[in-house]
């Protein structure tokens, strides 16, 4: 029976439940993280000095505060000013904003790598600044940022495990409960770890596909 511990229906369903919650946390957080990252990255490069300062301040704070502390603030801190978030919503907000701060760094670098001559050419054709960013620099920057952004999504998959600290019971949270009930810490967390490994591998494969899909001559990534 000992070997079949993880095949027990209740254990299996607890893990499955946790996995579903994890995926539900990861997908919107990754999505919003990329959206925030691209927007903030663009503002940090093309914004006016005030906008740049605000955007840089955001990155400074959200990269500088430990993620757990950020989650605590969203979940335990906000009620003091009358805002009550569910654990799930607090976790998604925390992850998205933290991930977005990191993403913006990759995106910023990618925007800066677009040759300035192309921006001059766009302006000379009569592009407004915003159209220039949308149609000329962003499509290039996005391609160049993709490997870095993918890396950040892999991180996100793993730090989503922090959600259980604010009582959003996802995969790691379920694992913790199973482990404390059964005292099988090693086996339980080995299995949990393996599930994360599967998730990150799947994400890496998917991101690779996207990179291949978006590949253009002249945009080779040498690896």
């Amino acid at each position: 029976m000992r070997e079949l511990f993880f095949l027990q229906p209740d254990i299996l369903s607890a893990l499955a439940r946790g996995l579903v919650v994890s995926v539900q946390l990861i997908i919107p957080s990754a999505f919003f993280g990329v959206i925030i990252g691209v927007s903030v990255g663009a503002l940090r490069v093309y914004g006016n000095p005030v906008v740049k300062t605000v955007a840089n301040g955001y990155v400074l704070v959200f990269r500088g505060f430990p993620l757990v502390v950020q989650l605590f603030i969203w979940y335990f801190g906000l009620p003091y000013i009358g805002i009550y978030l569910t654990p799930f919503v607090a976790a998604v907000i925390g992850f998205s904003l933290c991930s977005g701060a990191y993403q913006s760094e990759y995106v910023r670098g990618a925007f800066l790598s677009v040759k300035t001559g192309q921006m001059l050419a766009a302006q000379a054709l009569g592009f407004s600044r915003i159209k220039m960013v949308l149609f000329v620099t962003l499509p290039q920057a996005f391609r160049r940022a993709l490997p870095g952004c993918g890396n950040e999504i892999i991180y996100l998959i793993k730090y989503s495990s922090l959600a259980y600290m604010i009582t959003c019971i996802e995969l790691t949270g379920e694992g913790k409960i199973i482990a404390s009930d059964s005292f099988r810490y090693t086996e339980t967390f080995m299995v949990i770890g393996a599930v994360y490994l599967v998730l990150t591998s799947a994400a890496a494969w998917l991101l690779r596909r996207v990179e291949d899909r978006l590949h253009l001559p002249g945009f080779e990534q040498y690896s």
Binding site: L125, S128, Q140, L216
Partner: protein, 255 residues
């Protein structure tokens, strides 16, 4: 409007970076269909002057008239509209790396002029055909030679139906054997009646086609006149010296 009214006129254009004055009180005017060529040593202000004309560099002082109308509030929509009428060709081509030759030409029509995709595509194909690159329309910039890239950039500018084109050393970044294909295209565009201001060291080409050579040095227009005069009988010693050097280097006849 009389035929002699200049299509573009600039007056007292001045630009300084810190305490270095890169453009000093430059004035010029050009009539429809004319080709004026800026010559002079590197760092003499040729690029700055051209980029001030379409406000890629904001001049500190100076006035610009296009078609007799002064460009006063050079920002927002007025600026974007004005720039559409002033085509620009860069030394480094500056094609959009993520777009095929066709889309490089098409994007301005769609995103700036608001043309619908199919009409824009037809127009883009026609312009690429005009520069002899219809067969290359699905290639990306990374797959084209320097000469081909520059021809695509000329097609891109022409597609916008500019009233005047500014060419900033269009052949300086090219291998010698690719220069003539670009010059041939410029020659053809010129004979179609396009008004152009061009900076170049291709003195043979300039003397053959230019209506006027303008010698620019240390940010100011030293001397201007018909090619034969500037090249062989310039008044200032500095212009004479420069012209004899450059004629020696690049040949006196167009090759």
């Amino acid at each position: 409007m009389a035929d002699t009214d200049p299509i573009l006129r600039i007056e007292h254009m001045t630009k300084r970076y810190g305490d270095k004055e890169v453009l000093k009180d430059a004035s010029l005017s050009i009539n429809k269909g004319e080709l004026k060529v800026l010559i002079g040593p590197s760092g003499g202000g040729k690029s700055t002057l051209l980029q001030c004309i379409n406000f890629l560099i904001k001049p500190d002082r100076g006035r610009i008239w296009l078609d007799g109308e002064e460009i006063i509030r050079a920002k927002g929509k007025a600026l974007y509209d004005y720039r559409q009428k002033v085509g620009m060709i860069f030394q480094d081509f500056n094609l959009f790396d993520h777009l095929t030759a066709l889309h490089n030409v098409q994007i301005g029509l769609v995103r700036v002029k608001g043309m619908n995709g199919n009409t824009a595509k037809e127009r883009a194909v026609r312009e690429l055909d005009r520069v002899g690159l219809k067969d290359y329309m699905h290639q990306y910039p990374a797959e084209l030679s320097g000469g081909q890239k520059q021809r695509v950039s000329i097609a891109r500018a022409l597609a916008m139906d500019p009233e005047i084109m500014l060419l900033d050393e269009p052949t300086s970044a090219l291998d010698p054997e690719l220069i003539s294909e670009v010059l041939d295209v410029i020659r053809a565009v010129r004979s179609d009646g396009m008004t152009m201001i061009m900076s170049t060291h291709q003195i043979g080409f300039a003397s053959e086609l230019a209506d006027e050579l303008i010698f620019l040095e240390d940010g100011s227009i030293g001397e201007a006149g018909p090619p034969a005069k500037i090249l062989y009988a310039a008044e200032s010693a500095r212009a004479r010296e420069f012209c004899s050097k450059i004629t020696e280097l690049y040949g006196s006849s167009s090759s």
